[in-house]
Symmetry: C2
Subunit: 120 residues, 2 copies
């Protein structure tokens, strides 16, 4: 059974635009926004880092927490964190020497919603 795909503007707070459209052709602007987020996720290291943040105590992690489980250097992890943060998928909070990263559940939820097939 074919299904319609609600490829919607993923995050009103980011894009200041558009109610969800549950099945329709996305605008060029929405396609660009969505593709930017998907592209940030299109790297196995970043998928893994996202899951490591999700699994961390309190749902947040600093780069210092991630070097061991990821097996990567701090500069490498910082680079990937910047890509994820620039795409709006994680948030960053400076606390003393370290920045702590958390998932952005609303953005991730909206992105998931854009992929969720609906009855066509």
């Amino acid at each position: 059974m074919p299904a319609a795909l609600p490829l919607t503007q993923p995050d009103a707070a980011l894009a200041a635009c558009c109610s969800p459209v549950t099945a329709g052709i996305v605008s060029d602007e929405a396609a660009t926004t969505l593709a930017r987020m998907f592209k940030a996720l299109g790297d196995p290291t970043r998928v893994k880092l996202l899951s490591l943040i999700a699994a961390s105590a309190g749902g947040e992690a600093c780069v210092c927490d991630l070097t061991d489980p990821a097996g990567l250097s701090q500069p490498t992890i910082s680079h990937h964190m910047k890509v994820l943060a620039d795409a709006g998928l994680i948030t960053r909070e400076q606390r003393g020497k370290w920045a702590y990263f958390s998932l952005a559940p609303q953005v991730l939820g909206s992105l998931a919603g854009a992929l969720t097939p609906t009855a066509g």
Copy 2:
């Protein structure tokens, strides 16, 4: 409130692996599979084409249906269709001269599930 992210193996049929894990660290293999799918979506043209297929009558479209709304040549669309099909996001059915493409709702649903935040 931080949320845990069920970055799970997205499609058992594709990967022959793993029950969903609702919050945990993804394996390297699962991260690679997920990243490959996200990478295929990391292009505005492919996001748009996916939504055009979803919005097509019967939930399927041939390349010939997509040239006008996408404003692209048939070879360009065929290239993008191949990337989406190779990632498992759409399926292809040859009918006479033309191949018809449909969304793969289970794969898309699983990918959405991998992004859906759960209470941490």
